[in-house]
C-alpha cells in the first residue's frame, strides 16, 4: 500500500498548487467560483491526507516492515497500544501528522467562514495551502513516510522505550493540534492585511480558533511535563529544554492575544499589536516545528534529520519578512479608534499583562536561540541553563499571577478609587493573611515562593469574590437557589467566568511550581538491601531487590526484556507511609553483541515509582548495576553457548543471581511538596478553557440574540 501513500502525497501537492492559484486568481479577478474551488481544495486535501495517514497506521499496526519508517520505529514486540502511536515518533510520520491536522483544522475554519469574509478567506486559503504544500513537499523530497525497502526486514528496531508511556499517545497530537491551529489566525491575519479588511469581522472569525490553539498547546505542554516527571529518571517536570521552550513561546503570545483581542473587540484599540501577536504566534509555531525537525538540537525531542533545516529557514524568513512588510504597509488602516480612558481600567491591566507575557516570551526566545546563534557565529555553543531562565522568568511570573487577580475585579474603561478600594479589600486581606500564616508557621526563607503564595491567595480571593457577587446578583435578579444561580451565571457568561476559572487554575498551578521547586528535598546515593537514608522528613529503606523477565511480567507493560528494581519502604516519624517499587527496564537491541547481549543491549529506561498526594510526592528512581563480574560472566557464557531462541534462559539466570546477590544500586529520591497542584491547576485551566470556548447552543444563541436586540433597541431608544 506504500504506492497508494506516495500517490496521495503527490496528489496532495498538486491540489495545494492548484488551490493556491485558484484562490489567488479568484480573489484578484473577482471570480468567486475559483475562490470556491480553492476552498474545496482544502477539503479535498483533508480527505487525501486522511487516506495517507490511514495507510501508514495500517502499516504500523500490521508490522509491515517494508515501510522504512515502520522498520525504524516499531517492532513485533512493541505493544499494539504503542504501535498505533509510533506513527508520530518518526520524522516522516510526524510531518504527515502535522500536514494532516493542518488540513483538518483548515477545512473546519474555511467551512465556518464559507458565507463571509470572501476576500480574507480566499487569501487565507492560499496561505494555508502554501503551508500544507510546504510540509507535503518536505515529505516527498526529504522524509517520505512511504519509502520502502525490498526485501522487507523480518523485524523492526522497535519504538524508543522512553516513548512507551500513555501520555505519549496524546502529547504529540495535542501539541501539533496547537501548532496547526496557530496557523489559522496567522493565515486569516495575512488574509485580512492583504484584503485590507482589518476591522472586527476577521477577529470574530478566528477568535475561537485562537482559543482552541491556546487550549491544545497548553494541554500538550502539560502532558509533556507530566511525561517528563513520571517517566524520565531525572525527577523534574520542566527542564527549559529548547523544544519545551519552543512550545511555550507561541502559548505565551497566544495568551497575550486572547487578552488584547478583547480590547480590540470592545474599544477598537491595539490593532497593530493584535495583528502582530497573531503573526508572531503563527511564526513561533512554525519555528517550534523547525527546532524539532531541523536537526540543530541535541534534545530528547529532536528527530535529528539535518536536511530539513534550510527549507524551514527559508519559510520562516519569508513569514517574518512578509509579516513586517504587511503590517508596515497597512499601518494607516490599523490605527486605534479610541484611546485609553484611564490607567485604572481593565484595558491597562490587560496591556500590562501583554507586556509581561511578551517579555517572558522574549526571555525564553533569547535563552533558546542564543546558544544556536552563538554556535553559528563562533562555533562554540554557549550554555544557557535553568538558573539563567529562572533569574528572569520567576519575577515575571509573579507579576503575571498578580495581574491575573487584578484584572477580574477591575472594570472596563474607567475604575474609580472608591470602587477599587471596595473590590480589592478582600483579595489584599487574603494575601496578607497568607503572608502572616506562612511567617507564623516558620516557612523557610524563600522570598519568591512566599511572594507567589501571597499572589495566588490574592487571585483565589478575587476570583472567589467575583463568583460570590455574581451568584448574589443572579439570585437577586431571578430568585434562583445558589447552585442554580451559579450554573446560570456561568452558562450566560461563558467567556467571562470560563476565563476566571482559567485564572484560578493558573494560580493553583503556580503554587505547585513554587512549592515543589523551592521546598524540594532530593538525594542521589547508592544503597544495598537493608540500608536506609533520610530525605526531608522521610526515612527510606531499601527492603529487597526485584527482578522480572518480560514481556509477560513487565509491570509497566513497556515490552522490556528484563526489569531490575527494588522495594523501598518509606517511613515518617517511625510510621510506614508508602512502599515504592522503582525499576529499570533493559530492552532488546538489534546489533548488540551476542545472543544474550542483544536481548538487554538497548538503552535502559528508568521506570519511576512514586507516592503522590495532595500535599507531597515521594518520587524514586533506580539505576541497578548489572556490570558486576558475576552478572557479566553470565552474559558472556550465554553469548558463547546459547542460540538466540534459548538466550532468554540466561536472562532468567541473570535475574535469579541478581536477586540472590544484589549489588549496591544507585537511587534518586525526591520529596516534593504540592506537585499534585500543578496537574490539578492544569485540569482547572483546561475546564475553564472548555467553558470559555464552548459555543452556546444555536437555539439558545438565537433566542438570546433576539432578546438582546429587542431589549437593546428598546433601551437604546430611551438613551
Amino acid at each position: 500500500m506504500a504506492g497508494l501513500g506516495r500517490a496521495c502525497l503527490l496528489l496532495a501537492l498538486a491540489v495545494c498548487v492548484y488551490g493556491i492559484g485558484a484562490s489567488l486568481y479568484g480573489v484578484r479577478s473577482g471570480r468567486s467560483e475559483f475562490s470556491g474551488s480553492g476552498r474545496r481544495c482544502v477539503y479535498a486535501l483533508a480527505g487525501i491526507l486522511t487516506i495517507a495517514f490511514a495507510v501508514l497506521e495500517v502499516a504500523f499496526l500490521g508490522n509491515d516492515f517494508a515501510f522504512n519508517t515502520v522498520a525504524s520505529t516499531s517492532s513485533r514486540t512493541t505493544p499494539a497500544f504503542y504501535r498505533a502511536a509510533a506513527v508520530w515518533s518518526s520524522q516522516e510520520g510526524s510531518l504527515l501528522l502535522w500536514a494532516w491536522l493542518l488540513s483538518l483544522w483548515s477545512s473546519l475554519a474555511l467551512f465556518l467562514t464559507r458565507r463571509r469574509l470572501r476576500d480574507v478567506a480566499a487569501y487565507a486559503t492560499s496561505v494555508l495551502l502554501g503551508l500544507a504544500g510546504f510540509f507535503i513537499a518536505l515529505m516527498i523530497f526529504y522524509a517520505n513516510p512511504f519509502a520502502t525497502t525490498r526485501p522487507a526486514p523480518v523485524e523492526g528496531a522497535g519504538l524508543d522505550p522512553l516513548l512507551r508511556f500513555p501520555t505519549m499517545m496524546i502529547h504529540p497530537p495535542m501539541l501539533y493540534s496547537g501548532y496547526t491551529l496557530c496557523t489559522i489566525p496567522l493565515a486569516f491575519g495575512i488574509g485580512a492585511l492583504l484584503a485590507r479588511r482589518v476591522d472586527a469581522d476577521w477577529i470574530k472569525a478566528i477568535r475561537r480558533f485562537a482559543f482552541a490553539a491556546w487550549l491544545f498547546l497548553g494541554v500538550g505542554i502539560l502532558l509533556g511535563a507530566r511525561w517528563s516527571y513520571a517517566e524520565l529518571g531525572w525527577g523534574g517536570y520542566w527542564g527549559w529544554d529548547a523544544v519545551e521552550n519552543a512550545s511555550l513561546m507561541p502559548w505565551l503570545t497566544g495568551t497575550a492575544f486572547l487578552h488584547s483581542l478583547m480590547i480590540q473587540e470592545k474599544r477598537g484599540m491595539l490593532k497593530v499589536w493584535n495583528i502582530s501577536l497573531v503573526l508572531a504566534t503563527g511564526t513561533l509555531a512554525i519555528m517550534g516545528t523547525f527546532l524539532v525537525r531541523s536537526g540543530i538540537l541535541n534534545s530528547i525531542h529532536a528527530f535529528g534529520g539535518a536536511t530539513l533545516g534550510v527549507p524551514f529557514v527559508v519559510v520562516i524568513a519569508a513569514l517574518i519578512g512578509g509579516s513586517i512588510y504587511l503590517v508596515v504597509s497597512r499601518r494607516d488602516m490599523l490605527r486605534s479608534e479610541h484611546r485609553l480612558d484611564s490607567l485604572l481600567s481593565r484595558e491597562s491591566i490587560f496591556i500590562a499583562n501583554n507586556v509581561v507575557l511578551v517579555a517572558l516570551c522574549f526571555v525564553i526566545f533569547w535563552g533558546t536561540y542564543f546558544p544556536l546563534i552563538s554556535d553559528a557565529l563562533t562555533g562554540h555553543e554557549a550554555s544557557v541553563g535553568p538558573p539563567w531562565f529562572d533569574r528572569y522568568t520567576v519575577p515575571l511570573a509573579l507579576v503575571l499571577v498578580l495581574l491575573s487577580g487584578i484584572g477580574p475585579v477591575i472594570t472596563w474603561r474607567r475604575a474609580t478609587l472608591a470602587n477599587a478600594r471596595r473590590n480589592f479589600t478582600v483579595p489584599v486581606l487574603a494575601a496578607l493573611v497568607t503572608l502572616l500564616a506562612l511567617l507564623a508557621v516558620g516557612v523557610p526563607q524563600k522570598p519568591f515562593a512566599i511572594a507567589m503564595f501571597c499572589c495566588a491567595a490574592f487571585v483565589l480571593a478575587s476570583i472567589g469574590q467575583e463568583f460570590f457577587r455574581g451568584v448574589n446578583a443572579r439570585r437577586a435578579m431571578a430568585g434562583e437557589a445558589a447552585p442554580v444561580a451559579l450554573l446560570s451565571l456561568v452558562r450566560r457568561n461563558r467567556r467571562r467566568y470560563g476565563g476566571y476559572i482559567v485564572h484560578l487554575g493558573i494560580a493553583v498551578l503556580f503554587v505547585g511550581v513554587a512549592a515543589s521547586s523551592s521546598f524540594q528535598h532530593a538525594s542521589e546515593l547508592g544503597l544495598s538491601p537493608g540500608q536506609s537514608t533520610r530525605v526531608g522528613a522521610y526515612t527510606v529503606r531499601y527492603v529487597r531487590p526485584t527482578a522480572t523477565i518480560t514481556p509477560k511480567d513487565d509491570r509497566a507493560h513497556t515490552g522490556s526484556t528484563l526489569s531490575l528494581g527494588a522495594v523501598l519502604a518509606v517511613y515518617k516519624h517511625g510510621h510506614h507511609v508508602a512502599t515504592l517499587q522503582p525499576s529499570e527496564g533493559f530492552y532488546a537491541a538489534a546489533g548488540a553483541q551476542g545472543s544474550v547481549g542483544s536481548l538487554i543491549g538497548g538503552q535502559p529506561v528508568s521506570h519511576v515509582s512514586m507516592d503522590a498526594g495532595a500535599t507531597r510526592d515521594i518520587w524514586s528512581a533506580i539505576a541497578p548495576n548489572i556490570e558486576t563480574p558475576e552478572l557479566k560472566r553470565i552474559v558472556s557464557i550465554g553469548n558463547r553457548t546459547l542460540p538466540a531462541e534459548d538466550a532468554i534462559v540466561a536472562i532468567g539466570v541473570l535475574a535469579r543471581t541478581y536477586l540472590q546477590h544484589p549489588p549496591q544500586a544507585q537511587f534518586h529520591l525526591i520529596v516534593s511538596p504540592l506537585v499534585m497542584w500543578i496537574w490539578l491547576g492544569g485540569l482547572i485551566v483546561f475546564g475553564g478553557g472548555l467553558i470559555a470556548i464552548w459555543p452556546a447552543p444555536s437555539a439558545v444563541r438565537r433566542r438570546v440574540a433576539v432578546r438582546a436586540r429587542t431589549r437593546d433597541a428598546r433601551g437604546l431608544a430611551r438613551a
Binding site: F34, A44, R118, K266, N423, A476
Partner: protein, 118 residues
C-alpha cells in the same frame, strides 16, 4: 496489488477533480452565479452551493464588520450591566458608561441602516 493501487489512485484523482471543480461547473451552468448579488446569488443559495460567495464585494464587507462591531457592543453593554450588579461599578459610573456605550451602539446601528440593513 499494483493494479489495485493504480485503480484506487485513479479513483481518488477522479473524486478530487469532481469535488474541486464543482464550483466551476455550477458557475458554467449559471453564468451569473460567480458574480455576487442578484439572481445568481439567489440561484446559488437555492441550490445550496456554499462555495459561491454570497456577499457583495464592498458593501457586505463593511456590513460584516459593522455586525461584528454591533455584537461586540451589545456584549459590552451586558458586561457593564453585570459589572454594576456585581459591585464593580457605582450607579453613577454605570450610568455614564452605559450611556456612552448605547450612544456608540446607536452610531453602529445608524451605519448599518445606512448600509441597507437596519
Amino acid at each position: 496489488m499494483s493494479i489495485l493501487i493504480a485503480i484506487l489512485t485513479l479513483a481518488l484523482v477522479a473524486v478530487v477533480i469532481f469535488v474541486v471543480s464543482a464550483p466551476l461547473r455550477s458557475s458554467r451552468r449559471r453564468p451569473d452565479a460567480g458574480r455576487a448579488g442578484g439572481a445568481g446569488e439567489d440561484a446559488a443559495r437555492a441550490s445550496g452551493a456554499d462555495d459561491v460567495a454570497l456577499e457583495s464585494p464592498s458593501g457586505s464587507a463593511l456590513r460584516g464588520d459593522l455586525e461584528a462591531a454591533r455584537e461586540a457592543k451589545y456584549r459590552e453593554i451586558r458586561d457593564a450591566e453585570l459589572d454594576y450588579r456585581t459591585g464593580k461599578l457605582s450607579r453613577e459610573d454605570y450610568e455614564a458608561i452605559d450611556g456612552a456605550l448605547r450612544a456608540e451602539a446607536i452610531e453602529i446601528l445608524n451605519r448599518l441602516e445606512a448600509d441597507g440593513e437596519g
